[in-house]
Symmetry: C2
Subunit: 697 residues, 2 copies
């Protein structure tokens, strides 16, 4: 009855090397696991490895069962350790000891999720939101005055944007900052309960300051949402005029001291206005480098997009962790053994188990490659390499498309993994339930997923209407090509698609027509394009309606709009996976990765099969062929590759920390089998009643 | 900034009476809420009301943030309170102070979930599993000796069936009970680590005894799984030979002391064998009233079906609770107000919000009515009124079909409700995250959902193959009629369906053909029947294959089998809802309930639209009409009914206990609106920068 944990290596830099796959399945290709692992780490591999090495250390790991206060204090202490290890300053200016490395900073930050999502989010609040607001919305004075203390954690701070009454609708916040020329101060006021700042990390206990978002009012004019730096606590507690409430226990992330802040005519010097995008002089005169209040607002908020970038990345890593656990366990666990005692099947040999987990594995790879592109785009904007208005808008749209998909997928993957591990999955030591609880809120914070997808849909519609001011086939093809960011979908291709609709509707049952990359791309691209055109057509009368009527029309198609945005996001994921195949040199690795990409593409098509059938893109027989191809070809081919595909995630024992992913189940199963074999060999195995009866007959 | 909780009534017997629905939507029918509330309570309304009155008391309510030990002790104390209140003895024999009331017992037990799911499951372990095993598997001697102590909680006990190595595969457990004729005792042994009894409530701390399931071996013959009564602890701790480990923290249900038990040659008197279905005399001779070991095993396990019944019922109540919270909040919360300040929309007026929650409301009604039928069937068997072998098998199949659907649905509903409440939904005080965490394991315990659905599929196939030994159209119609438990689907109807496939494929776009009950039934029934026939055809070669080959063939279609069982379960839910409509006398109530049933039926069809299209049951235009009818007719009609439909669930403030469902949000919104109105009236509202610019132009 020994319990061993010899499966995962003890070194944080060596990837897991699981036992070979079930002998039942035939392995027809061999992945280069080490190479693939590096490839997955992407552009900021070095930063990711540094962060993983750090997160392998026990002092960063979540301890289950702590009280709320203990957990909060532990995480706060971990933040100090991060400072000591120089782990959190990469995005700050070199002049202040940072590295001006935006992509690397977010990459390293994402990896914290394996230690404790509370630690990830608390450090995100401190340096990614509070600190980043001072950095991006403030100017030299603010940087010099406050960034050193923020970087060193001398000034823990809250990012006071969200209000109880307004979650994702930041433009409508009700807190006011009114300029008083008599004292050269802003007066910050919470006018009513719904305007309490809410859900703010660091607000309940640790915060010494806050960046407060408020409607900036001077000379009776409201210039919209601006940010001000506001001290809130000193050693003796809350400062005069500042109120705070504790949000208390949450569904997860309880290492964060989320709370509320409210202000009773609190005065700050005029220069506490973070004035990069809007300033007030001593006479109360407002100026801004951005003329349009709307564009100014979105520019200010756009500087904080890294929250969405890092949630997307953390969701990918959590998904990798979940699948590592469930797939190792599924490769060892035996149940309902159908064949003989000496040739037992593991649960991952069951079709249903494969159906539950393998498409999720493919999805996780797609999410991982899509995130890498997203992170590069982000780095391009923030490093200044590609920082036009269009670049920033594209980044916003990418964030709004990918963050909802990956955070929802992560929850679904964590849940499927938990159920796939049965009772073991429900034990907190095996991490799946706690990770799911912590990541739950990722779906609604940093922009509610449904709200973000509407932004994507609106952008798609805007692009569409611009392109089709004078609609012709060429414009349509160009639009579609831009949509997928790939010129390979050229006019010819799309024209052929249109001509082939009849052919697609034929009854010839074959998968050949869709197995290749170009056909998958056509099916997925065509869907997005057709949905955009459809919804654009439905919304066309809106331009002739009054505001309320237009809103009602929009609302009548809101669900379709969001589905369209989802389809667009899925296409982006598929394109990222497909692009990633180009970089794979090794033939066998590319073969397996292509199967995995196909599984992802076919799963997307299968999920939306009704659309393809209704719109004449697939005949019934060809639709059936998609499902059959997944079941009869892709799952059996990928089954023997599963442990290698998981090993390439490179998560070590210190990151996984789930007893069921240590080989413990295999040891238990082997012990049981040996026991029966010995009993049988010694002639002491009791005869079964039914065999006895059969013998007597 | 006042916070009030005046929305929900303070009395546990008065249902909630929410404010009128949004004035934006026109209410075209008025539900009789009081009547519908009684109707939903069903046959055991009195027991449900008693239990609800009890669960309204604060001493039964979960307190968030307790430590593991504190929560366990609190729940154990609550169990004693339940005994004092006579709340848990209904199912026991009248001779021992019970009421022999099986349906009423389970109904009352289910209602405990509103107080704390840990309390529900812990009392389920004590009286529904441990006690029920002694009752149903033991005989007079055992009843007299142990039931009084079990009923009074003098003997807290564990139900030691599951082993670490074998979850849902009970027949393969490895613990042995070997008869020793020399001492007239059984020797209970755990042969290896995988045979530890695991996940047992009461095992870690409170249990004094256990019903242990073990392979019964006597004279070298293994007679299969039997249950024995085994003392495990006294005042000084574990008894000799008994080992125990604590399962520790779990994803939820932490008020339960789940743990492991293992046995090192522990001896119990021969008469501790619970011998109703199998006995051993002093010579070690085995006898059983049931000849076949397989049937004997399933009969023994069948006596414990009430676990599945009560999980199904608890899932329904948790769903009602979640929707009560999310729909009240959604009716008050305002965001992104599209129209003027004085005519703000609440988030439930958004189509997407309706799409997320209203089909779930319809589903919850369907689950509720289906559960009522299930509970009646259970009561029929256990009261002895309808207790043939066939009755028991039908009950098993019903349990295996409904428990997976309702427990999965409850998780999806809790999650959708949580996300629909945004940040508020993530606060533990609003209950959605904790309920979800607690109910998570419902999907895999008392039979893993995927395993249960396979049992259903096998039963469907067995019935099918019996019916079609000599297949003809009459047999097929009879089979289908039996399948749905409704003779209204008669031969003519089914024949007509077959003839109408061509018509269904026509392009006439209309919803008329499917809006009526008979057409919905045909579409849903036809799908189940066709899927069963399809999978039967695919599995036909299995009879000619060796065991391993047959298992492989079965495995190749495992996913389809499970989908077939799901379709069957959904049909049962739809039939239960449709039957329930018959009992509604009031015209307007019946009108609203019919819309709700239609929404449920159409949602089922929409979810499986690809199947209907691929199998020629719906044309593309008619498929689109399903979606349009949901969006354009059913959701707008049901929107004004939502608060009444939720009020009929009859959950009071004491059961709901979520601040956001108290009217607090409406108060906050009104305060904000009044503030702006006063400011505007007094001329002090700052002018918006963009309005100023427009003026200057």
């Amino acid at each position: 009855m020994t319990q061993v944990t010899d499966r995962l290596s003890a070194s944080p830099t060596t990837p897991t090397s699981p036992a070979p796959a079930s002998t039942a399945a035939t392995k027809t290709a061999q992945i280069d696991v080490a190479w693939l692992g590096e490839y997955l780490l992407g552009t900021w591999a070095a930063e990711r490895k540094q962060s993983r090495a750090l997160m392998a250390r026990p002092e960063f790991h979540r301890i289950d069962g702590l009280t709320l206060d203990e957990h909060r204090e532990r995480v706060f202490g971990q933040l100090k350790l991060l400072v000591g290890d120089g782990a959190v300053h990469r995005a700050f200016p070199t002049s202040l000891g940072g590295a001006n490395n935006h992509g690397g900073n977010v990459a390293a930050f994402e990896e914290i999720v394996t230690a404790d999502p509370s630690l990830q989010i608390k450090s995100g609040v401190q340096w990614g939101l509070f600190g980043a607001a001072v950095l991006h919305l403030g100017t030299k004075l603010h940087h010099e005055k406050w960034l050193p203390g923020i970087m060193s954690l001398e000034i823990p701070g809250a990012f006071a944007m969200t209000e109880t009454g307004h979650g994702s609708d930041v433009a409508s916040i009700a807190t006011t900052a009114t300029f008083d020329p008599k004292t050269d101060e802003f007066v910050i006021t919470t006018p009513f309960r719904a305007a309490y700042k809410d859900y703010l990390g660091n607000a309940a206990v640790h915060g010494r300051a806050a960046v407060v978002f408020a409607q900036l009012i001077t000379h009776g004019v409201n210039h919209g949402v601006h940010a001000l730096y506001l001290p809130i606590r000193d050693d003796s507690g809350l400062l005069p005029g500042i109120g705070s409430e504790d949000d208390g226990l949450k569904g997860g992330l309880n290492g964060l001291d989320n709370g509320r802040l409210f202000f009773d005519h609190v005065r700050v010097p005029r220069t506490n206005l973070l004035n990069r995008y809007g300033d007030v002089n001593e006479h109360g005169e407002y100026t801004s480098p951005i003329e349009s209040p709307g564009r100014r607002f979105f520019t200010m908020l756009g500087t904080l997009v890294q929250g969405r970038v890092s949630l997307d990345g953390a969701a990918v890593i959590a998904s990798k962790l979940a699948l590592t656990i469930a797939l190792i366990y599924g490769s060892e666990r035996r149940q309902f053994t159908a064949s003989s005692a000496t040739d037992e099947e593991v649960i991952l040999d069951y079709q249903r188990h494969q159906r539950r987990l393998l498409p999720r594995l493919a999805e996780t790879y797609a999410m991982s490659f899509a995130h890498e592109k997203f992170l590069s785009t982000f780095d391009g904007v923030f490093s200044g390499a590609h920082d036009t208005d269009d670049d920033r808008q594209d980044l916003e749209t990418l964030a709004a498309a990918l963050k909802p998909l990956s955070t929802w997928n992560a929850l679904a993957i964590l849940q499927e993994a938990r159920e796939a591990c049965g009772g073991q999955g429900f034990l907190m030591e095996n991490r799946l339930t706690q990770l799911r609880a912590d990541l739950d809120v990722y779906a609604t914070f940093e922009g509610d997923n449904n709200v973000l997808l509407q932004l994507v849909a609106k952008r798609l519609l805007t692009d569409y209407s611009r392109t089709f001011a004078k609609a012709d086939a060429g414009a349509m093809a160009h639009y579609a090509a831009e949509l997928v960011g790939d010129v390979a979908v050229n006019r010819t291709g799309l024209r052929r698609l249109a001509q082939n609709v009849v052919d697609f509707g034929s009854t010839a049952r074959s998968i050949g027509y869709v197995r290749d990359t170009a056909s998958q791309r056509q099916l997925l691209t065509d869907r997005v394009q057709t949905m955009v055109a459809e919804v654009a057509g439905k919304l066309r009368p809106a331009s002739k309606l009054a505001r309320a009527g237009a809103a009602a029309l929009f609302n009548r198609h809101q669900n379709l709009l969001i589905q369209t945005a989802q389809a667009h996001g899925e296409l982006l994921q598929w394109e990222a996976f497909t692009d990633a195949l180009e970089g794979v040199q090794d033939d066998q690795t590319r073969q397996v990765m292509t199967w995995l990409r196909d599984l992802f593409g076919f799963t997307l098509i299968e999920r939306n099969l009704a659309w393809y059938l209704m719109n004449g893109r697939l005949s019934a027989n060809r639709a059936q062929a998609i499902t059959d191809y997944i079941d009869d070809r892709l799952l059996p081919r990928l089954r023997p590759q599963v442990l290698d595909l998981v090993a390439a995630f490179g998560l070590t024992a210190e990151h996984v920390r789930a007893p069921i992913a240590t080989g413990i189940e295999r040891v238990r199963q082997n012990e049981a089998r040996d026991y029966y074999e010995n009993l049988r060999a010694s002639g002491k195995l009791p005869i079964e009643e039914k065999d006895l009866k059969a013998k007597k007959r």
